[in-house]
Symmetry: C2
Subunit: 334 residues, 2 copies
Amino acid sequence: MAGCASPVTADFYRGRSVLVTGGLGFIGSTLARRLSVLGADVHVVDGVIHDTGWNRFNLADSDVRVHAADVRDAYALKPLVRGRSVIFHCAGQVSHLDSMCAPFADLDANCGTTLQLLESCKQHNPEATIVLAGTRQVYGRPQCLPVNETHRVNPTDINGVHKAAAEFYALVYHHAFGLPTTVLRLTNVYGPRQLIRHPRQGVLGWLIGQAVQGHPLQLFGDGGQVRDMVYVDDAVDAFLRAGAEAACVGGVFNVGSDRAVTLKSFAHALIEVVGHGQVEYVEWPADRQAIDVGSVVLDSSKFRYTTGWTQIVSLDDGLRETVAYYRRHFSHYL
Amino acid sequence: MAGCASPVTADFYRGRSVLVTGGLGFIGSTLARRLSVLGADVHVVDGVIHDTGWNRFNLADSDVRVHAADVRDAYALKPLVRGRSVIFHCAGQVSHLDSMCAPFADLDANCGTTLQLLESCKQHNPEATIVLAGTRQVYGRPQCLPVNETHRVNPTDINGVHKAAAEFYALVYHHAFGLPTTVLRLTNVYGPRQLIRHPRQGVLGWLIGQAVQGHPLQLFGDGGQVRDMVYVDDAVDAFLRAGAEAACVGGVFNVGSDRAVTLKSFAHALIEVVGHGQVEYVEWPADRQAIDVGSVVLDSSKFRYTTGWTQIVSLDDGLRETVAYYRRHFSHYL
C-alpha cells in the first residue's frame, strides 16, 4: 500500500539522517522502509532481544543500515545518535501480560532504553527531534469515551506504568533540558511485519496469524470490547508528521481512529477477507482479565489539527494487505 | 513531642510485626521509633546508600532491629517481608536535583526498590498491608490550588517520574494481584532526624540546619512560593492511620496542611525561634528553576475523612522542637 505522507513531509526527510530504535520491529521497520523511500539516510538500532518483535526479514531487501545493539548501552548509542536529525524511538517491550510476569525486564526495556536514549541525546545531540512511540495503555480503563489527552494517566499493568514513565521522561527532558521531544500515544496498530507467533503482543496480530493459518479465532467473553484500529501505514505517517512538524515539540498526541470496532466485528471482517474461518468465544483467563482495560477509543483531534494527519486506510483494505503479506511470507513469522 | 496516634491506632500496632524500609532515614526512623513505643515488633531495612538520608544516630537508644540491606536484593528481602503485618515503604532517593544529574541511580532507588518490595510481598507475604511514602511532586506545577488527588500527574523532574511510577506499581499490584497497598502523597515534611548537611534533599531541612549554625538563610527569587508544611510527628501519625485503616487500601491520599506558608514566612518564623539570623534573597540557579513547581498546597480532605487524621502540631511548635533537637545533636547531622 502506498505511504500516506503528504508531499511536505516527504520533502522534509530527503537527505536527512534519521535513527529508528527498535527498527527491526513491526512499526519501526515499516517506518524505516518508508523513510528510505523518502530519501532519508536511515539507521536502525535494535537490541534483538529474545521473544520481542524484532525480525530481520522485516528489513530484507532494504538499504536501511541495521545496528544490533542494546539501546541501554551508552557506548553503543553515542555514535548512533550523533548527527541524526530525527530519532524515532520505537524500541521497547510491548507485552502487557509479560510485564506482569517479568516486571524488571519490562523496566529495563522501556524505562532503561528511553532514559538512556534521552541522556545520550542530551550529551551528544541535544538538537535531534525525538518522537516517542507511546501507547493508549497509559490511560488504563477509560473514564469516558472517546479518550482525549487530558484523560488521567492510570495504567492497569506494569507495561503501562513504564510506558507512562517513558512519556514523562520525554517531557522532563524537553522542559528542563530543551530537547525537542514529542510523544505519540498509539492505539491498536495492525499490518504487515507484526509479531504473530504468540498472543502476548497484541490481540490483532495474533488473530490475523490464526486466521491465515485457518485456526479458529478465540475471543474472550463476548468479544464486545470496542477498539479503534490503525493500519501501520497510517501510524507511520503519524510518526513522519510528528518528526517534521515543529508545533508537535513538547506535546503528547493520541493517534487513533474514529472508527470504533468491536473485536467480534474485527474477527468477522478478518474471516471475510481470508475467505473462511470461525470465531470461538472462551472464558476470560484470570491473568488477562485482571489487567484488561475494557473498551477504548481515542480522540485524535489534537494531532489532526496540529499536523493534518488523518487515517486513510479502511479496515477492509488494511486487512486485505495484511493477509496477503502474511500469505506470501508466512514462514518468516512463525 | 508526643505522638499523635489516636488510641485505636495505638492499640492496632501492639504486638504486630512491622517492617519499615528506609528506616534509618528521616520519616522512616521517626515512624519506627513511634511503632516501637506503641508496642510493635519493629524491623527496619536500609540500604545505607552514600549521600542519602540514612543516619544510624536516628535509631540510637531504640530497640528497633536494623537490617542493612539493599531493598532491590530479592534474597535479602525475602526473610524481611515474611511474617510482617504492615510494611511502610519509606526507602528511596528524594533529591529532585540529584535525579536530574543521576537519573539511573534515581531509577534504581525508587522504581527498583518499590518493584522488588511488591514482588517480594506478592511471592512471600501477599497479605501484608503496604503503605507507600509518595510525594506531591508527582503533580508537578499545580493547575489550581489546593491540589486534590484528581489533579493530573505531570512531574517536572526525574524523581517525580519515578515516584509516580512507584505509586502506579502499588495500585497495579493491588488491582491485579490483590496486595493491600496504600499510597500517601506527602507534602514538605520537617522535623528532627532530617538530613540537613546539604541543600539537595528538601529546602526546609536545609534552612533549619543553616539557621541553627547561624548562617544566613538563602531564598531563591523573592521567597514568595507557597508551601504547606507538616511536622514529622503528624506525618508519622498519617502513616500509622493508613496502615491500620482498611478503608485506605487501594487508595491514594494527599497528606498536607491547610496552613499555606510562603518560604519567606517560614524563614522568618525559623529566625524567631532560633533567636537571630537573616534572610538573603538570591537569583534562582538555572538547574533549580528548570524543575521548580512554584506554589503548592495540598487538599487532604480525602485522607481526613477516611482516617480522622488531622494536623496537630503548629509551625511554631514544630520549629521549636526541631531547633532544640539539632542544637542537642548537631554533631550527628553534619
